[in-house]
């Protein structure tokens, strides 16, 4: 194995779960996520020259994200334009205490459904922040957007999730 490949494996493979988690949340099924992560790694090796020892995880996640977006564009283009249906969702309950209670009792399944219902560009920011624990700056690098946009999308993602969780809970009553 060449030195480049060895170095690539040492740098990129430790972030395999981060890569898979992001891809899995973007495309929402195991099979496609696996294929896309593999494709992203092959692409990353090709672009390994462009990696200059900065944050390896952010570098790799940016490539995973691009690979997933390209695939979504070719296979599920409507998802790129899905928006959050404001009419379908009423405003979140204005009082905070019942909400805290609802969030504390929210099951794994409820949370997953709520997050999956978020439009792509909000879902990915929330996943990177809460599940990968990336900083605003790292998210800005991966998604190629300004930090200000990271902050506004994240705030909006949390608002939407709150509204959609309440709706699911209400509908199931």
């Amino acid at each position: 194995m060449s030195d480049t490949n060895r170095r690539f494996e040492e740098i990129a493979l430790p972030h395999l779960s981060a890569a898979y988690n992001l891809a899995r949340w973007l495309v929402r099924n195991d099979h496609d996520a696996e294929d896309l992560v593999q494709e992203a790694y092959l692409r990353a090796l090709k672009f390994f020259d462009s990696f200059h020892g900065e944050d390896a995880r952010a570098w790799l996640l940016a490539i995973v994200r691009n690979t997933c977006y390209t695939w979504l564009k070719q296979n599920r283009v409507q998802e790129l334009h899905d928006s959050f249906d404001e009419d379908k969702h009423s405003e979140a309950d204005s009082s905070a205490d019942p909400q805290v209670l609802m969030l504390q009792n929210a099951s794994k399944e409820l949370l997953n459904r709520g997050i999956e219902a978020l439009p792509l560009e909000f879902r990915e920011i929330l996943i990177m922040r809460e599940l990968e624990d990336l900083t605003y700056k790292e998210i800005a690098t991966v998604a190629n957007i300004p930090i200000g946009t990271v902050m506004s999308r994240l705030a909006r993602a949390r608002d939407m999730l709150r509204v959609s969780l309440e709706r699911i809970v209400r509908e199931e009553k």
């Binding site: 504390q104 794994k108 949390r158």
Partner: protein
Amino acid sequence: MNCNETRDLAHAYVDKEIDLVRAMEIEKHLDGCAACKALFAQEGAMQSAVRERASYYAAPRHLEARIRAALPGRVKKSFVFRPPNLSWLSFAASMAVAVFITWGVAVHLNTVTADDRLADQIISGHVRSLMADHLADVESSDKHTVKPWFNGKLDFSPEVLDTAIEGFPLVGGRLDYINNRPVAALVYKHRKHFINLFIWPEEPGAKSTLQTKTKQGYNLIYWKNSGMAFWAISDLDEKELMQFVNLLRQPATTQ
């Protein structure tokens, strides 16, 4: 801090993307404001719910093997296990060298990443201080005002030098949070450029040579001396920043 200002920072607060002094101001406000406190509790509950209960999809076990196999340029197995021309001694020696080299590369990579990560935090701290109009918690060009201000706020006392005569006047001091600990940030000015000098204690007696980095248009110079870590950052060019750093280091070398 009023309710609006506090609420604007709710997300940055739960995401820990805020400097220590702001965080303390927010906490002070929350102590006396039930409405804001409830709102922050809600953001906190949202964060914990997602972090603790949303699915984290770890890579399935077979995926790593699958990717390794798909990467081009793999050496055939038969080659690895076929050293017929090598005596065992030289084979063992070459393996030892290979292990040594790999180990060296790994150690080297680790240190690069540690410094790089720190550099990112320093850049964020510097940018935040300029962006949020929050350069200094104590604004003074007098080192006898700035140095005592840190008393009781940090578990060490940073050395504050007056370099005004040389063209680098002191602007003030600030608490910041770098590398998982509160640190002192001293702010100096040169013409219209600001310099942040971050200081925190390292293991006793830590000492290193000057190292430089250029990232995102900022120059960084960092070193360790007398058990303290120093990171200077500015948009000044490297030569001028080095001039500043040399001023700081002069008294230390004559001590």
